[in-house]
Subunit: 359 residues, 2 copies
Amino acid sequence: MSADRPGREPAGLEQEFALACPTPIPPGDTILLGHGSGGRLSSDLLRGIFLAAFDDPELRRLNDAAVLDADGIRLAFTTDAFVVQPPFFPGADIGSLSVYGTVNDLAMVGAKPRFLAASFVLEEGFATKDLERIVRSMAEACRRSSVRLVTGDTKVVERGSGDGVFVITSAIGTVPDGIQVAPERTRPGDVVVVSGPVGAHGVAVMSRRAGVAFEVDVESDSAPLTDLVESALAAGDVHALRDATRGGVATVLNELAAAASVSIVLDEQAVPVPEPVRAACETLGLDPLYVANEGVFVGTVGPDGADAVLGALQAHPRGRDARIVGHVEPGAPAVHLRTSLGVTRPLLMLTGDQLPRIC
Amino acid sequence: MSADRPGREPAGLEQEFALACPTPIPPGDTILLGHGSGGRLSSDLLRGIFLAAFDDPELRRLNDAAVLDADGIRLAFTTDAFVVQPPFFPGADIGSLSVYGTVNDLAMVGAKPRFLAASFVLEEGFATKDLERIVRSMAEACRRSSVRLVTGDTKVVERGSGDGVFVITSAIGTVPDGIQVAPERTRPGDVVVVSGPVGAHGVAVMSRRAGVAFEVDVESDSAPLTDLVESALAAGDVHALRDATRGGVATVLNELAAAASVSIVLDEQAVPVPEPVRAACETLGLDPLYVANEGVFVGTVGPDGADAVLGALQAHPRGRDARIVGHVEPGAPAVHLRTSLGVTRPLLMLTGDQLPRIC
C-alpha cells in the first residue's frame, strides 16, 4: 500500500488534479505497480502508449466492453487479466472471479454473455490440485452466468518467472435490440445509483494477503451482474453502467464524468458501506470509495425512471442494498463528494497503488 | 531443453506411445514446464483437468479456434497467451507474434479476422520504451492482418512475480458461408501439405535466449496466414488446417490423426527445412519436426484438388516453398515417418519440454 492517499492531497494539488481526466503524465522509464491500479496512472499509460498506437474509435471510448457490428448483429467483446494475490480468498477465488469479472464487463453495455475464452499462465511448481480447484470454480461460475467456455490456452513459465497462476479471460456477448448503454449517455439531471454495498472484495482479498492478513467477517462480493442489469434496464431509462472494480466507486465515477463531460456530485452518507468493511478500511488506512468491488456497479439513470430502476434493483437479491447516491450536473468533467460534515470537495481518481493485485 | 527427445525412445516405449492420442497420464502433484510445451503433457493436462470440468462440445473438439453460431452468423473465437523469452528476437517480437498467432488460429478454421482484444501482464520495472516498441509492433501487425484492436486490459505484478511482459490476445473472426475446415474432416486418401519451410521461429528465438544464444542467419517466420489460406480454400477441397506452432509439424499431425481417427504418413525428405535451421537443430540436439513455427501450417486436402491447392500456395509469396509432404491412410490414429533411410517409424507427439516459452 502507498502512503499516497487519493483525495487527501493539499489544496494546491487538488486544484491541479481536479479535472476528471487531466492531461496525461507521460509514463516514466519503467512500469510501476500503480500502472496496474486502474486509477490515474493506468489511465495515463493507456492514453500515452496504447491509444497513441491504436487509433480505433471503439478502443478510444475506453468502455468496459467494446460494442461492435458483425454482419448486422451487435457483439460485445471484452478481456481481463486476473493476477489477484492470493488466488483463494473469502467468498471467491481467481477462477470464479475471472468469469464474473469478464461477464460483468459485458453486462455494463447491456450485453448477454455467450462465449468465454480462458488463457492460463502457470508457474512451474504450481500445485495441480489448486489448478483443479480453480478450474472447477470457473466451471460453476460459467453455469451461474449462462456462458459457455469454448476455447483456451495454457502456458507454463519457469519457477520465479510468474506467481502461481494468472487467468486471462475474454468474452463475447450479444446486445439485444434497442439497448443503448454507454458512459457518454450520462447527462445533467441524471441520478447516480450504486447497486450494492461497497468495499467487500478489496477487504476480503487483503484480509488473506501475506504480510497484511487479519481477521474480518467480510466475503468478496464477486458475483454475476447480468440478471440485475436486465432488471434495471427493463425498469427505466438507464444511461450508463460501470462496475466499480479497480479504483472503486470514486475512480469509476471520474471515468463516467470524463466520458460524458459532466460533473457528478456524490453524497458520502448515501453510499452503503458495511460496518466490518468500514472498520477494516480504517485499520488499513483505506478509503472505501477507492476499494475494488466485483459484484457492484454504479449507473446513471434519467430522473423520471430513477425510482422504478431503484425499486427493480432492490427487488433482486443482489440489489437489496441499492441506493441513490448522487446526481449529475452540467460543468467541467469532475466528481465532487458532499461529505458527512456537509462540505464538498473534489473526489479524484485513484492516483497511487492503494491495492495492487486486487483482481 | 530436455534430454528427453521425442521419437528417440527405445522400441518398447515407442510401442506404448504409438497411438496418436493415448490414454492421458494424470498430471502429477505440480505443474511442469512440459505442461506448456504444446505436446503430450499439454494434451494430458487439457484432458485431465480442463475437459473434466468443462463439458462443452466445441471445447471438446480442441480446435485452434472455436466455431460458434451467434444469432445466425458463424463466429470463430480463439485465445492465446504469449510468454516468449526473450520478447525481441530476429524477425519478430512478442507484439507482432501475439497478433499473428491469434489471427492464424482464426485462419485455421477458414475465418476472416475481425476484432482483437489484448491483455498485458507487466512486471514492475519493465522498461516503458520496450512496452512502447511492443505496442507499436502490435499496431503494425493489426494493420497487416486487417484486424481491429478494440479492447484491452493491463495488470502489473511485483518485481519477481512475472517476467517482463506477457501478452494475451483473443480474437473474433467470421467464417464465410460454405467454408467447412475442421481436423475431423481429414480422411484416408487425403494429401498432406505444408505451407512453407519449417523450424525457423524456434531457432530464431533460441538463438537469442540467455544461456544458449548463438549466431545464426535465421529469422522467425511469424506472419499472418489469412491470405494464404484464402488462396488455398479457393483452389481446392481443403479438409483441415493447423498451424504448426508449439510441438511443431510432428505434434500437429498427431492432433489431426487423433481428431479424424486416421493414420498419417509423413515423408521426411519432402519436408522443407532451411539449411541454417537444420544446422542449428543439429547443434542444439533438436529435431526440426518438433520445432515451433509461427507462419507455417499443415493441411489435408482431397486428392483431386491437391495439385491446384499446392499451385495456389506456391503462387503466394509466403507459400513459395509449400510442398506435398505425406498422405492419409485408414488405420488406428497415428503418424508414421518414412525416413531418408527408407525405413518407417512412429512419429510421436512432443513428449518433453524441448523448447519451453517459444511463443
